[in-house]
């Protein structure tokens, strides 16, 4: 936390930059803006614990204001924690060392669509669903629809290297971004040109996509857009086991088909998510597919996928389960009385691996997690030609807060350890934040020093979101 003199000085500078109305120092505002959607934070809130909070909260409107704020923070060596929608699931915006929480929610400008290039430039504080609705009105989609779409902002998409439910076809946010504007810790405003590809050295925008506010503040981006598909066709299959379901997915991609949705639910998750609504054999998995495009394209993709799935032992379930999931895809994000009772916590570990390791990573993680969790269930989603992601979902509860938080940590520890041991990567789209921060060095291995060196070069005073992404941890 800041000493009184530094805080007073910073407050006065911030007021000069953005005006008094847009700087908050009252405890109530600092508490109400202190959290993201990390399940551990939510559990602590339920238990009545106050989360770490910033000393000051500032709401800039322009990139120039962000720049001036960073100059102040850098001069005074004050931690800066950028935050957008506060919808992250890893504690990435929790201000664990206090300082200034730089909230981008007022940066809501969407520039006119470039219809010729099919791009749109947006400010970081635009909420995902507002962008999506803006594009839909003009005949486009963003292709980026994470479950948090109603709460998360464009800046958060970029800072966490996020992925939407249709990333198999449209790509993750790093694939959807052509240009980026970033403010560096010393206040410099950096623009990377919006071009489809280039060969002018490394792609510098990728340095910041996924940097979780540790290297700078993302203020604007130029994103790709797609014409609204003429048709989205749904199809579903059950498989006797994970192995045959995964094989079918792999062969669908190998055949040159990119479904917009490809999700395989393991027997536990299939039972939990679908058995109340559809009849299928106990212990079977469910595969959900969707195909986007014109009639001819989706017909061909559907027919070829059907052939592959049935050859792999799949039983056709028609469009029902897949369509139902699509229509209810945000429902699981809501709390329920069960998931918020006592000291219960439910969380998801979204790992990614190539096909040669994917099933083994899943099995090892599941075995490790089941030692401590009440329930572990999983689905494979965000699938690609070379591999894909697994959502390792768990629920656990203990009779007191201390035991619950300890068990939660234990599950994470054994799960990530198993993932790394089997050759997986510990996050596909949720990012690192606090929940995975201590594993960053093990995950990146020999490449970790590159990240550390970049951090030192760009943020020598270590003001940017300290304690996240394995960087800037303080005593």
């Amino acid at each position: 936390m800041l000493d009184a003199r530094t805080k007073k000085k910073a407050f006065s500078h911030l007021v000069e930059i953005v005006g008094e109305e847009h700087v908050q120092e009252q405890e109530t505002d600092l508490i109400l803006n202190a959290h993201d959607a990390w399940p551990l934070s939510a559990a602590k809130i339920r238990a009545g614990e106050l989360l770490p909070r910033a000393d000051l909260l500032v709401f800039p409107k322009t990139t120039e204001e962000v720049s001036k704020i960073l100059v102040v923070a850098n001069d005074l060596a004050i931690p800066i924690v950028p935050v957008g929608g506060g919808a992250g699931s890893c504690g990435g915006t929790v201000p664990i060392y206090g300082g200034i929480q730089l909230d981008l929610k007022r940066m809501t400008r969407i520039y006119p669509i470039d219809h010729e290039s099919m791009t749109v430039r947006v400010q970081a504080g635009v909420v995902g669903i507002d962008l999506e609705e803006y594009l839909n009105r003009q005949g486009y989609i963003s292709g980026h629809t994470p479950t948090s779409l109603r709460a998360s902002c464009v800046g958060g998409f970029l800072a966490t290297r996020s992925g939407g439910s249709m990333s198999s076809l449209y790509g993750k946010i790093e694939d959807l971004t052509l240009g980026l504007q970033v403010v560096l810790p010393d206040g410099s405003i950096v623009d990377t040109k919006a071009v489809p590809r280039h060969s002018v050295g490394p792609d510098l925008k990728q340095l910041f996509i996924g940097s979780e506010g540790t290297l700078g503040v993302i203020t604007e981006a130029t994103l790709r857009v797609f014409p609204t598909p003429e048709e989205r066709r749904f199809r579903s299959y059950t498989f006797p086991d994970v192995t045959s379901g995964l094989k079918a997915i792999r062969l669908v991609f190998r055949a040159g088909i990119n479904p917009s949705i490809a999700r395989l639910y393991d027997p536990e998750d299939a039972a939990m998510s679908f058995s109340m609504h559809f009849e299928f054999d106990e212990g079977h998995c469910i595969l959900l597919l969707a195909f986007d495009g014109d009639h001819e394209k989706v017909s061909w993709e559907e027919n070829r996928s059907h052939q592959i799935c049935t050859e792999c032992g799949g039983i056709d379930q028609g469009p029902g389960p897949s369509k139902r999931w699509w229509n209810h895809r945000y429902d699981m994000y809501y709390p329920t009385r069960l998931t918020t009772s006592g000291y219960a916590i439910g969380d998801t570990i979204d790992i990614v691996a190539t096909y040669d390791r994917l099933e083994q990573v899943y099995r090892s993680m599941k075995e490790a997690m089941e030692q401590y969790a009440s329930v572990v269930m999983s689905h494979f989603s965000h699938m690609y030609q070379n591999g894909g992601s697994v959502y390792m979902i768990f629920f656990m509860a203990e009779s007191d807060a201390e035991s619950s938080w300890a068990t939660y940590k234990k599950i994470w520890d054994v799960a990530i350890e198993a993932c790394l041991r089997e050759g997986g990567t510990m996050s596909h789209q949720h990012g690192v934040g606090l929940s995975r921060s201590t594993f960053t060095e093990s995950e990146l291995g020999s490449a970790f020093r590159v990240l550390v060196d970049m951090k030192k070069a760009l943020d020598p005073k270590g003001i940017m979101n300290p304690g996240k992404l394995g960087l800037g941890v303080r005593e």
Binding site: Q26, T28, G48, L50, T108, G125, R150, T336, T340
Partner: protein
């Protein structure tokens, strides 16, 4: 301390990843996590579990709520934050901790029987019913139509008389109590309720008709909740007109008409179709819907004390609602509430004419009668 009944609702809302925040008008106006459903729940949750008491800023946050209940439309666990906020506001008033501007408003209502500080004896003495035959309706004018939107009261009177009703007005009508009840002043609200109930119950009429949905909700829901029963039904004018379409003319309007659902009429009273059927009938099918309509309609920004306490933010919300209306390409924005009409008209420009439903019918007669 707020009722423990709300504990599990608050616990769920406080740990939700903010699935409704994107439609919250006060989030739109402030762009902060403080004045949001989640922020309100978190404050009261922390208080309820003994972590932290409400401070002055916390109380202000609870008054940065329109009680519009659009969040409820998006809430799968059906957490009714507006009800929780209003319940906590009642305790705040009992603790003499409400914002001082609302103390001032309460005093004005006590003295003048309306929140505008206007003389009571000019409330509706300028409304002159002319028709003695037909079903007798008591028109409860409401403060906004009486003092700020007189054309609505006049249009309501003409429309009802043209439709064959005999309209009765009372100079003994006081503020319905909505501005007090919604901001937590139950005691002062109930004094008004008792006065109005005594007046209405002694009247010789078949039904009570209102043009203000705030009045409708208070008369038909809050009064009975407090044990104050009216001996005749209370209905919004749109309900009565929808049953009497044959007595309304039709007109060719020179542009589309979009409709703004008032929160008290729509989400709080479930009346969505009646105003629409009137507009469709009168305009011969020129109604165009906004993207956010019916259960998902955005509030105009004028509710539950927000305009009194935070006028600039209230106007910002009203202005956004007008922008949403303009996006339909309609020429006319019709609502069915004097309070909404007042706000939306103040934020509109020459591009779009804003009218109450009653004014819309009056205008249809001016344009061309069939």
């Amino acid at each position: 301390m707020i009722a423990k009944d709300f504990a599990d609702q608050l616990r769920m809302c406080a740990s939700c990843p903010k699935m409704c925040r994107h439609v919250c008008p006060t989030y739109f106006a402030w762009r902060s996590d403080s004045p949001t459903p989640h922020g309100r729940a978190l404050l009261i949750h922390y208080e309820l579990v003994g972590t932290r008491c409400l401070d002055e800023r916390g109380i202000e946050v609870l008054y940065q709520c329109l009680e519009c209940s659009q969040c409820l439309t998006w809430c799968k666990p059906e957490v009714d934050i507006a009800e929780i906020v209003e319940t906590r506001r009642r305790e705040i008033v009992k603790q003499s901790m409400r914002p001082s501007a609302l103390d001032d408003m309460a005093k004005v209502v006590e003295t003048h029987h309306n929140p505008y500080g206007e003389p009571h004896d000019t409330r509706n003495n300028w409304l002159n019913p002319t028709r003695a035959d037909g079903q007798r309706l008591f028109y409860f004018t409401g403060c906004t139509a009486a003092y700020r939107e007189k054309d609505i009261a006049l249009s309501a009177l003409h429309t009802l008389e043209n439709a064959g009703f005999s309209v009765v007005i009372s100079s003994e009508e006081y503020c319905c109590g909505s501005p007090l009840i919604r901001t937590g002043d139950e005691e002062a609200g109930l004094r008004l309720a008792q006065h109005n109930a005594d007046m209405i119950n002694s009247m010789d009429c078949d039904e009570v008709v209102v043009t203000c949905p705030g009045c409708l909700r208070v008369l038909s829901t809050d009064y009975p909740k407090y044990g104050i029963e009216l001996n005749k039904p209370v209905r919004h004018i749109s309900e009565i007109l929808a049953e009497n379409l044959h007595n309304l003319g039709t007109t060719d309007f020179d542009g589309g008409i979009t409709y703004h659902d008032p929160c008290h009429l729509g989400r709080h009273s479930g009346i969505y179709d009646q105003p629409r059927s009137v507009i469709e009938h009168v305009s011969r099918g020129k109604l165009v819907e906004m993207e956010r309509s019916r259960e998902n309609a955005m509030c105009c920004g004028n509710g539950a004390g927000l305009r009194t306490l935070f006028p600039e933010h209230a106007r910002k919300i009203g202005s956004e609602r007008v922008e949403q209306a303009k996006r339909t390409g309609a020429k006319y924005l019709v609502t069915a509430c004097p309070f909404c009409k007042n706000m939306l008209a103040s934020q509109s420009d020459d591009e779009m004419e804003v009218m109450d439903l009653t004014e819309f019918i009056e205008k249809s007669r001016d344009v061309k009668s069939d």
